[in-house]
């Protein structure tokens, strides 16, 4: 409703709308705060809520629940005791389709394609613990679930990649 020129400039003012606008801004700031807090906790990758691990039979995989597109992340494979002089890690094909392997520490003795996906064989000391780090990176946003076989022990994990 235009104001009369006697009590103010002639502009369209709408008290009710303005109040809603201010309310929307207040809600906006609350949402900003929630998003920032979630990000700090790791909901968008890289934080306490994002780190996860799964294990069975002396084998354990530490991975990230949430990662961001094109940001490198680590997947750590641990064995309590290597069964032989070779530790085999098999990464399912659907995982390898979703991520690219940027680096592996220590370097595997051989990398092959097998019936369970990519097969990486590492030299190990029988009876001693083993730790293998895979540096991964994903260009495909979305939820990716897959299996890793550590010396035959299948471990499932899933990671959500933010765009």
């Amino acid at each position: 409703m235009p104001e009369s020129t006697e009590s103010g400039p002639q502009i369209t003012e709408d008290e009710a709308f303005q109040r809603k606008d201010w309310a929307a801004q207040r809600i906006g700031w609350i949402v900003f705060a929630i998003v920032l807090l979630s990000a700090a906790l790791g909901v968008f990758g890289g934080g306490p809520l994002s780190r996860a691990s799964t294990g069975a039979d002396g084998a354990q995989v530490q991975y990230e629940r949430f990662v961001r597109r094109e940001k490198p992340f680590e997947l750590v494979v641990r064995l309590d005791a290597a069964k032989s002089e070779t530790v085999a890690v098999e990464i399912a094909s659907r995982v390898l389709r979703a991520v690219s392997v940027e680096g592996i520490t220590p370097a595997p003795e051989s990398e092959r394609s097998g019936e369970n996906g990519g097969r990486f064989e590492f030299a190990a000391t029988p009876g001693a613990p083993a730790m293998l780090k895979f540096r991964l990176q994903s260009s495909n946003p979305g939820l990716h679930a897959g299996t890793i076989r550590v010396d035959g022990v299948p471990l499932s994990f899933s990671t959500f990649v933010y765009p």
């Binding site: 400039p9 700031w29 900003f32």
Partner: protein, 151 residues
């Protein structure tokens, strides 16, 4: 397809953040505001291009952003109600020399901001020289002097 979604997505996110942050954020009155706008451009650059530095990507990105701008402007013209939702309405802050403090507080403007604008736009010296002051949708403050400005 990916580049169009990225361009449109970032445009929408940045627009929403600034729209909800309040009008004064856009007004570039303080060093904080200036630094903010400077750095926001840098923050989104990498996300827009990704790892694709081709000419084609850049051209399609620019096209996407310009098209979004054009489409939103066309929508604003067509649906009048949309204008106030997207831009906000002007708000009278000083009416007939009387400051409306609760409105100023809600918009995070103090007397100093208004006096600054009065000085730079009209050369006015005192609060009493201001008849009306209006906060525009752009975040700027328009001053209507009490008398015709003297040179």
């Amino acid at each position: 397809m990916d580049m169009i979604v990225r361009g449109a997505g970032i445009y929408a996110v940045v627009w929403l953040c600034f729209r909800l942050a309040g009008r004064r954020t856009m007004a570039e009155m303080t060093t904080f505001d200036f630094v903010l706008l400077l750095i926001c451009g840098e923050a989104t650059q990498q996300a827009l291009l990704g790892d694709d530095f081709s000419l084609t990507n850049a051209a399609i990105l620019v096209l996407t952003l310009v098209s979004m701008d054009g489409a939103l402007t066309a929508l604003r013209v067509r649906f009048h109600g949309l204008e106030r939702v997207m831009e906000g309405l002007p708000l009278v802050l000083i009416r007939d020399g009387k400051m409306l403090h609760d409105r100023m507080a809600k918009e995070r403007i103090d007397q100093e901001d208004i006096l600054h604008e009065a000085r730079s736009a009209h050369g006015l010296e005192r609060l009493e020289d201001i008849k009306h002051a209006v906060l525009e949708p752009s975040g700027g403050i328009s001053i209507i002097p009490r008398r015709a400005a003297t040179s």
